[in-house]
Symmetry: C2
Subunit: 242 residues, 2 copies
């Protein structure tokens, strides 16, 4: 019996959650997470004890969750999207050996690459890469190397954290790197506020993406050489219709 | 109001399905899909009309689903994992312009890269690639190019369709390509029959992966230079604990 569930809640609405994720949240005595994500699900469980830590308080959040689990409480650590993709599963499992007795179960969820793709059409219908443009924990040189490798391999791309106040031109830099490998008319897409108020999706070209406005709640998709625009949707063929 | 839902049901058990996916299946008059996946969910909806087509009958399945939707029936086309990742969303959207009046909604689901990762630990905690080793619809030269690019970019990898009766040595070929870029002791993982009878997960090294037995119901994970084995789990740090 797990004492700490690391739960991917999907994009944010109850409908985007798996039944197992909802069951884990129900079983938990304590819910914890980043404030914005915790607020998305808190109305479903108004009676539960909960705590949050701000952005950059991730390790403190993980340590408190593990300490509670070690005391025998049942804790759910809430992650937006999936528990593992840029989520808390990896720091929790790195810290776990210091908390003997705490048991951890990872409950996967629909990450933004999938929920955003569904809004846009089928941009990830063939091999793809997922890259975060945030250089908070990753040197920009490595991000750039991965963007080049994705270009080289003609992968479809899903880009997380495409922009923030501090990183206004990162999406432009990424688009410029991909423009060395594929045409300016390559179909691209932006999904915003997936499953939440203000949900929006739009298809545009790689040239247009250079100058597109994005925020922290956006996921960006860049097509491969095979990706097509079909009636306003972005579609990467699997090859069946060839 | 959509007339055709393309539904990712997750790994196969009801618990791995999102609430929206289950609601779409409930709303449908007709369920269709590949036999194995349809059988996974058919017991939940015994009263529904359904049809399946065998492997390689994908286009016929899509055309029948679209024709029914065009007649005004509410159809759910069931996909294992996600609707878009190697799923039916892309052929459906390619064919859709030939079926005026049919409306399509894509309902995302937890793809095997995420559900398999959760069983193994957190192998996809940083940037990753998803590549299918099936050369049924993709030339092997392109698959190889993408494996090299993934090696070059130090990506974590999730490999779909790692083996079949016809393609016994493809996983070995993939491991050999990655061995040119990373050490033989790189943590790797195999997840089998995720969310179904016979579910299993094991962590092994890239050298051991060369000779590992896999089947069609396996998903393979290859770590990056940063991936660690921690207490039998496979963990790729996000960077918080650095």
């Amino acid at each position: 019996m797990a004492t700490l569930y690391v739960v991917g809640i999907g994009p944010g609405s109850e409908g985007g959650m798996t039944l197992e994720a909802r069951a884990a949240l129900k079983r938990a005595d304590v819910l914890c997470g980043y404030g914005v994500y915790l607020d998305l699900i808190a109305p479903l469980f108004p009676e539960k004890e909960r705590f949050s830590t701000p952005m950059r308080g991730e390790l403190e959040r993980c340590r408190r969750a593990l300490a509670l689990a070690q005391e025998g409480r049942c804790v759910a650590l809430v992650c937006s999207g999936d528990a593992g993709v840029y989520g808390m599963a990896s720091p929790i499992l790195e810290l776990l050996p210091a908390y003997p007795g705490a048991e951890v179960e990872i409950v996967p969820g629909v990450t933004a690459a999938l929920s955003g793709a569904a809004l846009l059409g089928a941009p990830l219908g063939h091999d793809f890469c997922v890259i975060s443009l945030s250089d908070l924990l990753t040197p920009w040189a490595l991000i750039e190397k991965r963007l080049r490798a994705a270009g080289e391999g003609d992968f479809n791309l899903a880009l997380y954290n495409p922009a923030s106040h501090r990183r206004r031109d990162y999406l432009r830099r990424a688009a410029d790197i991909l423009l060395a490998y594929r045409g300016g008319d390559t179909p691209c897409g932006i999904a915003q506020n997936i499953g939440r108020a203000g949900q929006a999706a739009r298809v545009l070209t790689l040239c247009e993406l250079r100058d597109a406005e994005c925020d922290m709640f956006s996921t960006v998709f860049i097509g491969s050489s095979q990706t097509k625009g079909i009636d306003g949707r972005m579609v990467t063929p699997r090859g069946y219709t060839r």
